[in-house]
């Protein structure tokens, strides 16, 4: 009786021993890792603290191609027994370092921090325009895409000024990287917020060698704004130019991926009238005649006239509405024209999806021009057919 029991106990014990030390190896308590939620990439130059380190001889061999700034959360001076935490200073810590490889910089942070970095919760990547002039976006995001910790849903932004400034905020209790990742919620109110580009989307865009736009950030006075878009050239992967806010809006309407936003113009008395788009439908029809490729763009929008400063107007009659429709159509057409001039003449890049329409509707023609598409696009004729309809005047009192 006793010998089989001993054997069984021994086996159980040994198997437990086998499992237990081999387990646990991947155990990391959540409070023992440092989450970073934002990463900003800037032109290479030693960060101020780094300069001090280096002056004391803390160096390693590098050429300072890029500076990376991480936003670590939550960072709080630990207050024990403090039930009322009313003096919350900053909830995040930004840490900068420069070097030649992004991974190397991240690992370099490990000799400055008390907890290992963990990238599962990375929300935004911000790349400065200055850096994108020198390096291609493919090179910069290579590590971020390869790494398995970093989610493909991370958003990518471009910053007009230094990228690390976008990760600073004067607002209390606000983490700028969260602010940036949540700002896309405003797409239902304005088309100036572009469809967010995630890391995985960026991957497909860079590999297809097509030009594309990224949302641009502008900082000022400790706050930031999503302002316009940056055009990344498909073949070089570098920054070639910016679109202003109205261009960005038009771009969104043109590609039809968002039906929000306002159109403001003056009426015949020189007073402001504002129209808000309720629904918008756009259609790009390519026409191929021999070598000549042209596009017909139809834009139909329905919306409400929601603000007018003209006290003399009688805003319910059909005539009035039709006259206003006309003015709004002219205004929209002018905006579109401005965008097309920039895209076709200034930057010579198709970021509005004309090429894609052509590829879908006329694959044979697309095949011929595919290699040189940005040039062909800049020469093709684009005509607009714009219809704006007001179907709602809001509520007002009749005299």
């Amino acid at each position: 009786m006793s010998s089989p029991r001993k054997l069984v106990l021994l086996t159980l014990f040994l198997s437990a021993i086998l499992v237990m030390p081999t387990g646990c190896w991947s155990s990391k308590e959540i409070e023992d890792v440092a989450l970073f939620t934002g990463i900003a990439l800037d032109k290479g130059q030693p960060a101020p603290i780094e300069k001090e380190f280096e002056s004391k001889g803390a160096t390693y061999s590098k050429r300072n191609k890029v500076m990376a700034t991480l936003q670590l959360v939550p960072f709080k001076s630990q207050k024990k027994q403090g039930k009322k935490q009313n003096d919350q200073k900053s909830t995040f810590l930004n840490i900068s370092g420069s070097g030649d490889s992004i991974l190397e910089i991240l690992r370099q942070f490990s000799i400055r921090l008390d907890r290992p970095l963990m990238g599962h919760h990375l929300k935004v990547i911000i790349i400065s325009v200055d850096l994108l002039r020198k390096q291609s976006i493919e090179q910069l995001t290579d590590f971020l895409l390869r790494d398995n910790e970093i989610r493909p849903s991370t958003l990518v932004y471009v910053s007009q000024g230094p990228a690390r400034e976008t990760l600073m905020s004067k607002k209390l209790n606000e983490v700028p990287s969260f602010h940036l990742s949540k700002a896309v919620r405003n797409r239902s109110r304005t088309s100036k917020v572009l469809k967010p580009i995630t890391l995985s989307r960026l991957d497909s865009l860079t590999h297809s060698k097509k030009s594309f736009v990224l949302q641009t950030l502008v900082t000022g006075g400790g706050e930031l704004e999503l302002s316009g878009a940056s055009i990344i050239n498909g073949s070089t992967g570098q920054w070639i130019g910016s679109l202003n806010q109205e261009n960005t809006e038009c771009l969104a309407w043109l590609s039809g991926d968002r039906n929000a936003g306002v159109i403001k113009t003056d009426d015949w008395n020189g007073e402001t009238i504002t129209y808000e788009i309720k629904s918008l439908r756009s259609k790009i029809t390519p026409q191929v005649k021999g070598d000549q490729i042209s596009f017909q763009v139809e834009i139909h929008t329905l919306g409400r006239l929601i603000e007018t400063w003209d006290e003399q107007s009688h805003p319910t009659t059909n005539d009035y509405a039709n006259a206003l429709d006309k003015r709004l159509e002219d205004k929209l057409a002018a905006m579109m024209e401005e965008l097309m001039v920039k895209l076709q003449s200034k930057y010579k890049s198709d970021v509005a999806g004309f090429g894609r329409r052509l590829a879908i509707e006329n694959p044979a023609a697309w095949k011929k021009v595919k290699e040189d598409w940005d040039n062909v696009f800049s020469r093709s004729e684009i005509t607009f057919a714009i219809k704006v309809r007001i179907n709602d005047f809001g509520s007002f009192t009749e005299d």
Binding site: L12, S26, S27, I30, L35, M118
Partner: protein
């Protein structure tokens, strides 16, 4: 050609790993069998019979001598040492013979004894009784009147509470007046409360319990068979079933297992459960216990068998399946839509009661990336200053909750609720304040505890509580992988488990679509026209 094939062959270390991986199930099943046979021997039917034969109940063959004085002396000698035994010797006036009344104090109705029995025997019992000894049964005006076959059974019965009567000139002792010991009134079921439905619950008296079953409805098919169990102290055990529904093979199996039971005293139905269940190593109960007659009768109508034991209000239902543990009689009394919702809630609660702490451990210690960022941040802030790894943290709180719950059962009624408040609120809050545990964990543990209270069967609740700790260990060592592994192990064990030949997980596995009507949700009664397919009943129509 061949060399190119060979180049794809794995190296020896891969083969070694494969061999080890192959050994794991073999070793595991070997260990399991060894463990099973260790304690399985006591339940072996052969040993039980072998034991019985060499030591036959020796005292059984000592008959009455027929001589009053001798028998009286023998009885006095054998059981006279009991101080609670009263023997009242008297003379029957009309017959002029001596007689002795034996009884144990406190087990008879004193009024009946004094006023009726004694009066009758001393003054009224006349010559007609005495003249025809063989007609004694008919002549004495008692409802319960047996002739004791031997002196020893007379002694035993007297000590069990019968009133024994020894009359001069009679060949053997008589047993009159059944035991009427202290008994409890019928109360509401304590462990299985519900809002709607009968409030009746079984008591400790077997005869009361069987009568409760009979009173459920008129039927000639409800059959109750009584057995004597226990080798030293014998007790009555009754099997109840519906004769024309129950599967005869199942009935035979239950009877056989009951007869094979070999234990000196069966104190409670838990003893029976452990002695006749299929797999004593399983954490899951393979017989359902209940104190509700309506539950028993419903089970019998599904083709199950009830095992009633004298001296306990808990009746066993065999066979049991997993789905029964999460069903409540109320599901059938309420309308089908709300009861389906409640039943699904119970499944969710059972899952949470089992897995919530292990999920917490695996998320906190292994996969912080799987928590939504905002939640991760608040957990980090909450856990700042908690000095323990999550397993220790969870164990501290879980163990104290379990202790609290155990204490709550033992505590006297007026103190109980106060203790719950002290324990739940003060200890939890103080532990957070002291930095022992994080506030987030308090939520997890509270949700777990509340979920486990929603399980209708108390025994199933204990099983889940036990398994929760196992799951926590798995999670602490292997993270999410361990948690899933634990769940899979549990599932594979349940798939293999059987209760009296009925697979425990049926109708999920083996798949019986017909029985799904009464599994996660309860179909309207109009759709449940037939009895569960899993019971293989003789008559499976519920509607004509």
């Amino acid at each position: 050609m061949l060399s190119s094939v060979i180049s794809y062959f794995p190296t020896w270390d891969v083969w070694l790993q494969a061999a080890i991986a192959c050994l794991v199930p073999i070793v595991a099943s070997f260990v399991y069998k060894k463990t099973y046979s260790l304690a399985g021997k006591g339940r072996n039917p052969n040993t039980a019979e072998n034991k019985k034969d060499p030591d036959p109940p020796a005292p059984n063959n000592s008959p009455f001598s027929g001589d009053y004085a001798t028998d009286l002396a023998t009885i006095r000698e054998r059981i006279g040492g009991n101080s609670d035994l009263c023997s009242r010797e008297f003379r029957m006036a009309k017959l002029n013979v001596r007689a002795t009344l034996f009884f144990v104090t406190g087990m008879q109705n004193d009024r009946v004894l004094d006023l009726q029995l004694m009066e009758f025997l001393m003054f009224e019992a006349g010559a007609d009784v005495y003249a025809e000894p063989e007609r004694l049964h008919d002549q004495l005006p008692f409802n319960n009147l047996f002739e004791a076959p031997s002196l020893d059974s007379f002694n035993r019965s007297v000590l069990f509470g019968y009133t024994g009567l020894l009359i001069e000139g009679q060949p053997s002792g008589l047993l009159i007046e059944c035991p009427d010991g202290a008994n409890r009134a019928v109360q509401e079921p304590l462990s299985e409360g519900l809002l709607r439905g009968p409030r009746l619950s079984f008591t400790e008296m077997l005869s009361v319990n069987t009568s409760m079953l009979r009173r459920q409805g008129l039927s000639e098919q409800l059959e109750i068979k009584t057995f004597q169990v226990g080798t030293r102290l014998q007790k009555d055990l009754a099997l109840a079933y519906i004769k024309d529904i129950v599967n005869p093979d199942l009935l035979e199996e239950v009877k056989a297992r009951i007869q094979k039971m070999d234990f000196d005293f069966i104190a409670e139905s838990g003893y029976i459960e452990e002695l006749i269940e299929d797999n004593y190593l399983s954490p899951f109960q393979q017989l359902q216990n209940t104190e509700r007659p309506d539950r028993v009768i419903a089970a019998m109508l599904e083709g199950r068998i009830a095992i009633l034991l004298d001296g306990t209000p808990f009746v066993l239902i065999a066979p049991a399946t997993f789905s029964m543990l999460l069903q409540s009689p109320e599901d059938y009394y309420e309308r089908w839509l709300p009861s389906s919702l409640l039943r699904m809630l119970r499944f969710a609660a059972a899952f949470m009661a089992l897995m919530a702490p292990s999920l917490y451990i695996s998320f906190i210690s292994f996969h912080p990336g799987l928590i939504p960022t905002e939640l991760a941040l608040s957990i980090i802030e909450a856990r700042q200053g908690v000095p323990f790894p999550s397993l220790i943290e969870v164990l501290i709180l879980e163990v104290s909750i379990e202790i609290l719950r155990e204490a709550g059962i033992r505590l006297p009624k007026p103190v109980g609720p106060a203790m719950g408040i002290v324990g739940g609120l003060i200890i939890g809050d103080a532990a957070v304040q002291a930095g022992l545990v994080s506030p987030f964990l308090v939520i997890v543990v509270a949700v777990t505890a509340i979920s486990s209270f929603s399980i209708p069967s108390y025994s199933a609740g204990i099983t889940l509580r036990l398994l929760r700790f196992v799951g926590m260990i798995f999670a602490a060592f292997l993270g999410m992988f361990g948690t899933i592994l634990f769940f899979l192990l549990l599932c594979s064990h349940l798939t293999k488990l059987k209760s009296f030949g009925v697979p425990y997980l049926t109708p999920v596995s083996p798949f019986r679509p017909r029985d799904w009507k009464d599994l996660f949700f309860r179909a309207p009664r109009a759709l449940m026209k037939r009895r569960p397919a899993m019971m293989k009943t003789q008559d499976d129509k519920r509607k004509s």
